[in-house]
Symmetry: C2
Subunit: 97 residues, 2 copies
Amino acid sequence: MDQDPTITNPEFYKVIFENERVRVLEYRDNPGDRTELHHHPDTLMITLSNFRRRLTVGEQMVEIEKPAYEAGWLPAQTHAGENIGTTGTHVMFVELK
Amino acid sequence: MDQDPTITNPEFYKVIFENERVRVLEYRDNPGDRTELHHHPDTLMITLSNFRRRLTVGEQMVEIEKPAYEAGWLPAQTHAGENIGTTGTHVMFVELK
């Protein structure tokens, strides 16, 4: 089942814009915060802070580290995340419909 | 003719990501800076700073003021802009293909 992150973790994910082409989620967390398993459709991600996260995708765990103001493609996937850095995470997710 | 802002004002607009679905432009300027007339396709705009700008769209001039971290829809249009505020402008443009 595809879990919408605004349902599984409304404390971290806010819908800040939506029309017939896109939905935009703003994500903010603090060090140590973890998300429940959730689903992203094909999404353009823009980082607004640097961050370090551990993602659990299926059986795999991957660690990612990103600088602020980077754009990257997140192909549709289901995962859970954990902020393993020392600073909050601030990201915009532009979901394409 | 449709002028690409990365051609008309490469000092302000940088392509930071592109694939078959989107092109992402990062825009940065300083107070008083002006852009040449240029064209945007349908675009999702995310503000990373507050700003105040004067836009010239055809015969019309409009002043806009935005806070940081707002997402908004820019329907395809040709315009020129001027930073009429006291701070730099920082914006991400997610152009949809």
